[in-house]
């Protein structure tokens, strides 16, 4: 309990810090001398790809880290280390790091509350493809037992605490390659691996459609992950706190 309180206090502190950093993010900050627990300098290695303070634009490939649920980020870091997810650079970075440190990194990025860049509402995807994507995201496809994204990832698709990621504000290429990796069994999660089951029910056309649609959705006024699920998950997923 005391540990939990400490954790909340730490997150609150980081949120405050995060605001301060957001204000000066436009110009690269000069190196500050190590202060406090110095975590922002310890995760400086992440910024070369994920952007300063873990916020990237929705162009390119590298996913944004800031504001994602800590449990989700922690699970991904562990998966890269333990061979469930494959990315040469990520595996290399985390291969000799402890659970405790990976959790601290995850909590740091989860605690950042940085503004999202505006999402250009135009897409080169044909309208029919976008419509199909919207249908999959909001309604799913009952005939093929594909649940809607919103059933698990939150009604606003901003994720659900503590371990389900938001799907908005991500590069289209990143979303489609992750879904593709589920389809081809190159990405795994702790068992039961629910997304692997869903990924295998999708076609590449489905994947392109839903990634294209997700990539052009504006961020809602409150981009934070929902605090709880509205209903039970439609299937059982590993990596969720019991």
């Amino acid at each position: 309990m005391r540990k939990a309180l400490h954790r909340i206090a730490a997150i609150a502190l980081l949120l405050l810090l995060g605001h301060g950093i957001a204000a000066i993010a436009a110009t690269p900050p000069a190196p500050a001398p190590p202060s406090g627990n110095d975590i922002e300098r310890r995760v400086a290695a992440c910024i070369a790809c994920h952007g300063r303070e873990g916020a990237t634009t929705n162009a390119g490939y590298f996913p944004r880290l800031s504001g994602k649920p800590a449990g989700y980020l922690f699970n991904q870091l562990r998966s890269f280390r333990d061979g469930r997810r494959f990315n040469t650079d990520m595996t290399y970075m985390v291969q000799h790091l402890s659970d405790a440190y990976l959790m601290e990194m995850a909590e740091y990025f989860a605690g950042l509350n940085l503004p999202y860049p505006p999402v250009p509402p135009v897409s080169d995807a044909p309208p029919a493809q976008l419509a199909r994507g919207r249908q999959l995201a909001l309604e799913g496809d009952a005939t093929r037992r594909i649940p809607a994204c919103v059933e698990c990832h939150g009604a606003a698709l901003t994720g659900v605490q503590p371990a389900i990621p938001g799907l908005l504000g991500l590069p289209r290429l990143y979303v489609s390659s992750q879904l593709g990796a589920w389809l081809t069994s190159e990405r795994h999660a702790l068992a039961p691996d629910c997304m692997a089951d869903i990924g295998r029910r999708m076609t590449t056309a489905d994947i392109n459609a839903v990634a294209s649609w997700l990539a052009v959705q504006p961020m809602p006024a409150d981009p934070k992950p929902a605090t709880s699920l509205p209903a039970a998950l439609p299937m059982s997923c590993g990596g969720m706190p019991k």
Binding site: P31, P34, A44, C49, Y92, Q95, H96, L97, S98
Partner: protein, 431 residues
């Protein structure tokens, strides 16, 4: 008549050839069997006490057995990790006590024969990717302790994978020839002229530690060359350079305080250096768990390695003139954009966090393979008890091309008092 004589001549020649080949084969077989104790006829009683198992656990860490015999995220000691060599891929074997897939049916004599003689239970010769040219020095007592420990880990039914080696390296005959030329089982011999601590260090470094597997040279058949010592070597396939532990210009520690050597091996960081790449792995999985006494012993041995005479390397002023101004300008621009944030605008680094690049011997080494690796792949120092929250370096392999890497390294090696030869496109494209 002449034809018959010719036939007879041919017959004698053939016979001589057969005899010669037979003698060579017998010689090779004999060389492969030398120093091998006969296996006991009856299974021996073996009492694995908790103390023995604990000792074995510690020694298995000292040898980093799990480093090769465990896949990423896989069950400990279940084997299956591919090890790339210049001769093909060797898969590590299952060391758990599973009767079929592991070594559950092995006796401690079988295990000793593998460690000391490099021969499997079924009589097959083992590939020296399993570093028995080093483990041969491990005492019978320590081998028995490791055996006792491995018998105590949870069994895994993971079947062993067949190696994928090129011909002729995939044959037992080629391995027998290799062993006849390059391997001799031998016990560790203490140097009576040195203190016990030094000898303990020599035993750990030369035996279980198998440091020479990376920090030594290999001949064209891949055998470590003990006579050249820990004088540094390029790690095959991985393309990292394990620096010389004898050379004060590389990773020699003769002028380091013992406590710093212990700190480096225990925590991954020391006042004058830190571990990255394959050595981060060694600290993370092995040396961080060793006792201060054993690390002190290793330090006293390493500090006393016969040093190489400081070579007047090509670090002369002439090199400065050979640095291309355009390359230096390009390198400086990249440095300012990507590196200065952590390493400082004068390469001064930040004590306790980011290493200085000015005057850093790892930056100025003749071998530049590690610098190129670190820029391409980045990496964190290992999380250890003494350094649980290490700092890290980003991977720049996506952002910088080979010419960028050459330019920024040329700039770093030629600035702030550094005066080391430029890094060329030839170096950076050979990764």
């Amino acid at each position: 008549m002449r034809k018959m004589r010719k036939m007879r001549y041919l017959g004698w020649t053939l016979l001589a050839l057969v005899l010669l080949l037979g003698a060579a084969a017998a010689g090779i077989v004999a060389l492969n069997l030398r120093g091998e104790d006969p296996l006991p006829e009856q299974p021996e009683a073996f009492n694995a006490t908790p103390q023995l198992i604990e000792r074995g656990r510690y020694l298995a860490l000292a040898g980093n057995c799990a480093g090769c015999h465990t896949t990423r995220g896989g069950q400990a000691y279940a084997g299956g990790l591919p090890i790339e060599t210049p001769f093909g891929t060797v898969y590590s074997s299952n060391l758990t006590p599973d009767a079929k897939a592991g070594i559950g049916s092995w006796s401690r004599a079988h295990f000793w024969r593998a460690m000391h003689n490099g021969r499997s239970k079924d009589g097959r010769l083992l590939y020296p990717a399993f570093p028995y040219p080093n483990f041969t020095q491990v005492t019978r007592e320590d081998s028995d302790a490791i055996y006792a420990y491995l018998r105590s880990v949870p069994p895994a039914p993971t079947p062993n994978l067949a190696h994928r080696l090129r011909f002729p390296y995939d044959t037992q005959a080629a391995l027998a020839v290799w062993r006849a030329l390059s391997f001799k089982p031998e016990a560790f011999v203490a140097n009576a002229g040195k203190p016990a601590e030094w000898n303990r260090g020599a035993y750990l470094v030369g035996g279980l530690g198998h440091c020479i597997a990376c920090h030594g040279s290999r001949d064209s058949l891949g055998a470590t060359q003990a006579n050249l010592g820990l004088s540094g070597g390029l790690i095959a396939v991985q393309n990292w350079y394990a620096p010389s532990l004898a050379d004060p210009h590389e990773a020699g520690v003769s002028d380091w305080p013992t406590a710093d050597v212990v700190a480096l091996l225990k925590t991954g960081v020391a006042p004058r250096g830190a571990v990255m790449g394959p050595m981060a792995e060694v600290v993370f999985r092995s040396t961080q768990y060793l006792s201060d006494a054993d690390l002190g012993a290793i330090a006293s041995y390493l500090k006393d390695l016969p040093g190489v005479t400081a070579q007047p390397v090509m670090r002369t002023a002439t090199n400065a003139t050979r640095r291309d101004a355009g390359t230096m300008a390009r390198g400086q621009k990249i440095y300012d954009q990507r590196c200065a944030y952590c390493h400082g605008d004068q390469g001064q680094g930040e004590p306790g966090a980011f290493p200085p690049l000015a005057g850093n011997r790892a930056v100025n080494m003749a071998q530049t393979a590690n610098l190129i690796q670190v820029i391409a792949h980045g990496g964190y120092l290992p999380s250890t008890q003494g350094n649980p929250r290490p700092y890290g370096m980003p991977p720049f392999g996506q952002a910088l091309d080979a010419a960028d890497v050459a330019a920024v390294l040329t700039f770093i090696r030629g600035s702030w008092g550094n005066d080391s030869p430029p890094v060329t496109l030839l170096d950076t494209t050979r990764r």
